[in-house]
Symmetry: C2
Amino acid sequence: QTIAYAEHPYVKVTMDNINVDVVPAFKLKDPLEAETVVDRTPFHTRYVISKLNEKQKDEVRLLKKFMKTIGVYGAEIKVSGFSGYLVELLVIYYGSFKRVLEAASETWKPGVVIDVERYFRKKDLPKITRKFQNQPLIVIDPVDYRRNVAAAVSPKSMATFIAASKTYLRNPSELFFFKVEAKPTLAEVMELISSKPYDYVFVLFPIPKKPPDILWGFLRRSVKGVRSLLEKFGFNVLDYDVWCDEREYGVFVFELESEKISDFVKSEGPLVFSEPNSSRFLSKYVDSELTIAGPWIEDFKWVVIRKRKFNRASSLLKERLLEHGVSHVLQEHLRKTWFKVLLKDDLKYIVEMVGDDFLSFLRSFVRKKPEWLRI
Amino acid sequence: QTIAYAEHPYVKVTMDNINVDVVPAFKLKDPLEAETVVDRTPFHTRYVISKLNEKQKDEVRLLKKFMKTIGVYGAEIKVSGFSGYLVELLVIYYGSFKRVLEAASETWKPGVVIDVERYFRKKDLPKITRKFQNQPLIVIDPVDYRRNVAAAVSPKSMATFIAASKTYLRNPSELFFFKVEAKPTLAEVMELISSKPYDYVFVLFPIPKKPPDILWGFLRRSVKGVRSLLEKFGFNVLDYDVWCDEREYGVFVFELESEKISDFVKSEGPLVFSEPNSSRFLSKYVDSELTIAGPWIEDFKWVVIRKRKFNRASSLLKERLLEHGVSHVLQEHLRKTWFKVLLKDDLKYIVEMVGDDFLSFLRSFVRKKPEWLRI
């Protein structure tokens, strides 16, 4: 028995090898008075039980398994996908597993509104879309019309579900319900990586002790920030992601057109008539060792071809990672601990450190093509 | 004696080694009735003579020489700079050579309005700026208030004049009145080019017989078009220009970060919910030899890393130059004649074909820094 903490403290118990979370909540008459998500749960449970028949409960199970396989089941930040309650509502609204997939593949677009209990009229839809602006999927909660049950669904999860639905309906297959592939070996992943004509850079680091949602939140923000740092210095980032075991280590992965880029860059200066910027730019570059050609004028701006500060992504990250990009919490933590910038030849070292779950993650990252995507 | 043609036919004569153009014009009472630029000329002449004293005539000569040296004197399309009449007006308006330079370096910005005869009131300025929207310098013609005498001045010429004025005032020098450098040799330019860490591609071709303004007009449009073609296919064009001798040959010059780029590219497809685009994209890439990784989903779009069609600028230009970019007149002409795509090692060949005036042009192009730019 341990005490855990999400929105408020709760108790985790293991009974007969089953994990049970005991979560306290206020007993309310009206769900609109709910202060936390948990206070709303009994209303959700009652609503779903009252609406689903036995057959539909199987449809819910089927849809959950489908979503789990394609990687979009779960409202936690790591997945940013569909919660259990949301899956139940979709089956209630559309009627069956297949009908949900049909609706997703034929009618879903960013901003689609699904109003299970029909609280709103057609003319109010633009208002709702505006209210939930950055949420691509809007499912009005039957027990609280002010709430979007699908608020956690990211564009990627929604798009993945749409694409998988279309593929499944065209070509149904067990691929959508079972992971078929074995865990990869180090040699397999090494070979896969070597077959690609581009480069990989990894940042390995110890993670601070935080609840998963908070951890994933700042890891995601940080890896995006580091991507921007790389792009700002002229590296072409093809793809990037973050992996972590939620206990000890995290790894940022960047796929780059090239880890080494040209050692010069064309760089825009100020407008010729803008002072003191213009004079400052000229005194910096006219007789400088840094200047490869120019300065000259394009439209109304001074431009110059100058040497780069960093022409290797690894050097840039070693020197600037802590100053730029990384979120505040992580920055503090890495200053006190350590981080390593590694290349594809260091994969063996990484796997020895963090374990081979990383290999499965990396294989999917390198391939990119979802396992279910067949034509 | 020959017959030439600009806006209408005129006669070119040589007397005592001086070239004289005899240009017919209508004799009018009111310049507002002028049908061609030439009809307005007598009014311009009379206006200028009535306003300039003897000392100011020298100031005009000085300003013309200054502008000639920095390459902005002449309203023809090749230069896109300041006409003789415009120079005269500037001296009339500001008073002296030095005052013109002071005004340019302190008050000129794109859209500045100089109303020599003060036809307009302050509140009308926004209207005038709108009327001459794409013309960075607006000088109202004293003999015809509807006309911008500076219509030919390009942003580059105006900016160059502003920058040169600032440099001259800070640090006056003979550099602004005399070209000091000797013509370069082939060996010098070869060495200069080899010292740069980037690549050059040349397109050499015979030019059609056309009056200079028309010729320069479509050569400029064409070289811009070819630049876009290169960029569309992923080449990073640092700079580009066109040279021609106005008789036989033209050369497009492109300075590229690299003539050879990666043989793959990340390429965006349609939105996952958009049909039939989405299905078409997937059947093209899911099992294709062209696919290096993916397809996968970013935001709501399919993306893929695929092989490039062209990873050398020279191959792209050899195959696509005539279909894309080049203006219609030039396209027709090159189909009937020929063009060659050449690299920096072919410079000797180019100079043998077109003569060594090309070398002076190329030296300035490669250096980019104006000769007068000292700090």
